[in-house]
């Protein structure tokens, strides 16, 4: 098994930072899932080395930083990583709008797993705010993937 390239960890740092960014309460539910987006990006463009395992590591780090149940984000992120690695050949050739739609599905799955875990543990049941995070996440995908591609064009050229 080959380890993810250093570029993956480098882009994970700002994503974790953005996930921790202090925002007013009404805005913080809207904060897109930066870490999940970065994981999808790498799984899509470099599935040989950043797939399920890298997604799991990113999720575990997010768990530790957010203080949530250890393994909850890791599980959700693993699901997202697996789906992306399974479908990467198809998603890669989608036009950007359809790609954003696929990302929205991924984020929906991600939130579903988190919601499910929280339901079992007996946490608070959040309302429709999660939907906003999914929509904003899909919208963020367009500039984010363009930015990451321009950062490392040699690696992610497809």
């Amino acid at each position: 098994m080959r380890l993810p390239p250093w570029q993956f960890w480098l882009s994970l740092g700002p994503a974790l930072t953005l996930a921790l960014l202090p925002l007013p309460p009404w805005l913080s539910a809207w904060n897109p899932d930066w870490v999940a987006l970065v994981v999808i990006f790498w799984a899509l463009n470099y599935p040989g080395r950043t797939g399920v395992g890298a997604a799991w590591c990113a999720g575990l780090l997010l768990d530790v930083m957010q203080g949530s149940l250890l393994g909850a984000h890791a599980l959700a992120m693993t699901v997202v990583g697996y789906l992306t690695v399974k479908l990467y050949l198809r998603i890669r050739v989608f036009p950007l709008s359809q790609q954003a739609l696929a990302v929205a599905m991924m984020l929906g799955t991600y939130h579903f797993v988190l919601f499910w875990v929280e339901g079992i543990v007996g946490g608070p049941a959040p309302g429709l705010d999660r939907g906003l995070a999914i929509v904003l996440g899909a919208l963020t995908w367009v500039p984010l993937q363009a930015f990451l591609k321009s950062m490392w064009p040699r690696i992610v050229k497809d």
């Binding site: 098994m1 080959r2 740092g13 974790l16 930072t17 996930a19 921790l20 960014l21 202090p22 925002l23 309460p25 913080s28 539910a29 904060n31 470099y46 599935p47 040989g48 080395r49 797939g51 399920v52 395992g53 799991w56 999720g59 575990l60 780090l61 530790v64 930083m65 957010q66 203080g67 949530s68 149940l69 250890l70 393994g71 909850a72 890791a74 599980l75 693993t78 699901v79 990583g81 697996y82 690695v85 399974k86 875990v117 929280e118 543990v121 007996g122 946490g123 608070p124 959040p126 705010d129 040699r154 690696i155 050229k157 497809d158």
Partner: protein
Amino acid sequence: MATSSNQYRPLLLQGPSPGLRFLLLCVVSILLMVLDHQQHHTRSLRAALSVATYPLQVLVNMPYSAGAWISETLGTRSDLMEENARLRNQILNQQFQVQKLEALQAENNRLREMMRSAAEVAERILVAEIRSVDLDPYRHNLVINKGSRDGAYNGQAILDAYGVIGQITSAEPLSSRAILITDPSHATPVEINRNGIRTVALGSGDPAELRLPFLPNSTDIQVGDLLVTSGLGGHFPPGYPVGVVNEVLRDPGKNFATVTARPSAQLDRGRQVLLVWFGTPRSSQDLVEPEPET
């Protein structure tokens, strides 16, 4: 093209199939969650990883600490003098109150001795600063900059100048995570200051509201009553303000009254909190009630 030798553009995947890895990691995640939820066996793992992510926390907090530092350094002389005078005044006022308090405490101790009950144990406090770090938006948690290195421990009470804020849920080496009293999964043992009725204040998920669902309709409770910690459960020192009752609804059709309170502490403002160390709870016979702590 069956397999690409170009390591930058793999067309087909190599190594163990992602499906196998996926299953394996799912099992590991679920195992971790069970361990973390049931027994908190994962404390050392969490502590180790938290040290690795500590720089990110500091980084996120940096604009805020830099802003505070700049405004303090560039504050004008007159501003500082004004603040100084105000603080001096405040200290004078508080010293006056403390004098009275010491006399009262001595008297209280004498009375307690006469009634053969254990005296209050002296408390020790440490000021900690809240880090501006956004955690799970559906939970009321915060991160403070004192950890187990400074003596913080799991379950330690956290106060601010106005009342109880919460308790530490995980003391990591350099920082700690705390749960607020308004988190939906937190319960604070309280008593009504006016008449000593004991109950439990649950978090509501709203930073400005606590719920008191276990009071029968006949309970003597009014709007404006002060709720203080009862010290039962042993997590919070007794006698600190928790909240003020702001709504009492008595529906004759229901067994329990609907009572809500507003937290006394400034949960969504302020940067400094106090960590409290206190001795054993007042006496062992106070602890017969089941302890509803989180």
